[in-house]
Symmetry: C2
Subunit: 439 residues, 2 copies
């Protein structure tokens, strides 16, 4: 008998690897935060002992979700201004609110709300782009979640930085502080082609290559973005990004709703990672990323929620369903993006996009023990024929009961173990009163 | 002080009337199952007394949802066969399963599961089309929910009826049995133009007019339906229905994803009620009903989930979100179908389609007390700026805590008061074992 940290028994176990496997009555054996073995429960009991043994006789266990595009501190703007045109929304609601309110304290408190929401809906890793990076990183560190934090770069002043040089210096300072952290990593995050000029993008490229970081950027989000680029430069954004050598596997291209044949050829040649944000794209009427066509070209397509101001949640279960429905609608094919592939998009493909697929994204021996348990014997998910189908088409976020990252349990039977739910709620109410008082 | 049955105080109250109103700190005063008054909580306390007084200081109270298209007994087929082409799904999975398993007992037990699911997600009225009508009606009666049960007519034999004459005779028998019921009504429900021939449709029309019943029918669900109709009759289905006088306000036309200019003219002239089922239409890749264009023509568009075999839930909160996102995507307009209008579509428009808007569908003095309470002070719906926006864009079904129909409380703090959840779950597991044993 070998002694290990934990043995977790599951009625159903979805590995999230590309073999589309659902195992029954299997156990995950964990030692020192990593998956040591996945084997039938009976064998696990014969071979291993642990002080922490948990049984999930009515649950499916699956890899935690990788939310590959967030602006998590925008959780405090959730529902502040809906049903508006994009520029009205930005100019008259979001940007004024950000100018007035965004600070280190705001980002810290809003990050707590967002990370609590993410853990409660099964997300174990997120990829963020916002301001006051340390504030978010500190909350993520304390909460135990895995995070990639974008070193945001934008060619106009915000409360975070007064000019491009300061964005870079603060970004590099953040990178240096966290470069040896086991769960928190930096990316370089130029906002978009319409807010970041070419000289700045060249500097982004230089820094990303120097420190070997991913580049996380909104690309081809709306038709306006394309039209404006053509009007000012006679070229579409992707061509301009290709010209300066940015369309490579290092790029995480977010949104990508507007793609013509030329764009598709550029992507096929450069192989950037693509992040699909179906709910934000539908809610803002931006368009639909051609996920199935991109996957057919062999490209890696991950899934993100975007910020809660334009979604309005950070719920990857709901996002999987929306991505699945949208893919079937767009392709006019009910077989497009089956359940297991949708789960892979929300887990392993996200890890790949972030360059973390050697660490997380699937239940694979040697990877970190990042996984979730979802209770299926509920009125809403009975009968149970195919657990993967239920995860995508029927389960809701409150059925996620337990969450682990690197073997550490962050939620147990719906109770958050690393965050104070009561305090987080009180702070959200306190800030919303401040925000609306001066509105 | 006047004595009444109930006083329900709400922090926020959405009337669901077309004035898009959200009231604060108001009370619903209920007597003998009907709404007697809606007034500020303070005034309600001064004017009325009741033995049943409940306070919802962190909830929004809104009209119960009217799910305007269901096949509720198909809940036992939830997730049995996903990610398949429509005809493969029907021919090799759903129809064989129905032939083998559908019986009075099956429909009764599956209806319990479905009605439990509906109450738990805030639905107070549904419009069904299936077999063994009495089995569903008895469960609805006992559960206390409001139901319209379709007298299904289809030109081929099923376990329910051997031929068209038997469908009609069993349907009329059902109508006679329930015609004086206060919550359960009949509609005539010819399945679709490709399964019901013209002589049968003429008989449907005759019966509907004789008994003054709505006609509930799948219309223009898929491109195949249109192509098949043109191939066999040189006419699109809506033209054929118009020719026999069926396109009138009596018609509840379900799906309507395929509408050309000729169809739009027919609809504009005939003014049928339209039921949009966005999730089923996306999941089966059927298309998208042009909801906003239809509403602009002054048509009544309601919302339905379809059966759980093609959705895979009966969750009207999720359906509202999908309808909203889809409308914005299809119109390329982020202002299309704002939150309040989406709620109206899921409530009052459904009641109108069923001819029940004098009884239910909005919180209006004189109507039945059919309403729900949704808890908003949760991690997922904080901060709270606009409760209507949260209902559509952020809340999930488990946040619906309390449900009333005709003043009778069917769920209290998430506990079902008229159905036995434990027994329902056990039966679902029992039946699923039977179904998969012989598969």
């Amino acid at each position: 008998m070998e002694s290990v940290s934990q043995i977790i028994h599951a009625r159903w176990l979805i590995t999230g690897e590309q073999n589309n496997q659902t195992l029954e009555n299997h156990a995950i054996v964990i030692d020192q935060g990593k998956i040591k073995a996945i084997l039938p429960s009976k064998q696990a009991t014969e071979r291993y002992t642990a002080t922490d043994i948990q049984r999930f006789p009515n649950h499916v266990i699956s890899p935690g979700f990788v939310n590959t595009h967030t602006h998590i501190a925008m959780n405090y703007f959730r529902g502040l201004a809906d049903d508006l045109a994009l520029m009205d929304w930005l100019n008259h609601h979001i940007w004024p609110a950000e100018r007035t309110w965004v600070s280190q304290e705001f980002v810290r408190d809003a990050s707590q709300l967002a990370i609590a929401e993410m853990i409660r809906s099964g997300t174990t890793c997120f990829n963020d782009m916002y301001f006051f990076l340390q504030a978010t990183a500190e909350v993520a560190d304390q909460a135990g979640i895995r995070a990639n934090i974008g070193m945001t770069v934008i060619d106009f002043p915000t409360a975070w930085a007064k000019d491009t040089a300061e964005y870079f210096s603060k970004g590099i300072e953040f990178y240096s502080e966290y470069k040896n952290h086991d769960r928190i990593k930096a990316t370089v995050a130029p906002h978009a082609i319409y807010t970041v000029a070419e000289p700045t993008l060249l500097k982004v490229k230089e820094i990303a290559e120097k420190y070997d970081l991913k580049i996380n950027m909104h690309v081809h989000e709306t038709a306006d973005e394309i039209n404006q680029s053509i009007a000012t430069t006679k070229q579409r954004p992707l061509r301009r990004l290709q010209n300066i050598g940015l369309v490579t596997p290092r790029l995480i291209a977010i949104h990508m709703t507007q793609l013509d044949d030329e764009d598709m050829a550029i992507i096929e040649a450069g192989k950037p990672n693509i992040v699909h944000c179906p709910e934000s794209n539908m809610k803002l009427a931006s368009g639909a990323c051609p996920v199935v066509a991109l996957q057919k070209q062999g490209l890696n397509v991950a899934l993100g929620t975007d910020g809660a101001a334009s979604n309005n949640d950070l719920n990857m279960l709901g996002e999987m369903r929306s991505a699945n429905f949208l893919a079937k609608l767009v392709t006019q094919n009910p077989i497009a993006l089956p359940a297991h592939e949708t789960i892979t998009m929300a887990t392993l493909n996200g890890a790949k996009a972030l360059g973390l697929d050697h660490i997380t994204g699937s239940l694979t021996v040697g990877k970190a023990a990042d996984f979730i348990a979802t209770k299926l014997d509920e009125i809403e998910t009975l009968p149970i024929y195919h657990p993967a189908s239920h995860l995508v088409y029927a389960a809701s976020r409150n059925q996620v009961t337990d969450v682990w990252v690197a073997g550490k349990q962050l939620m147990k039977k719906r109770k958050l173990l690393t965050l104070d739910e009561k305090e987080i709620k009180a702070k959200a109410i306190y800030w919303s009163k401040k925000l609306t008082k001066n509105a």
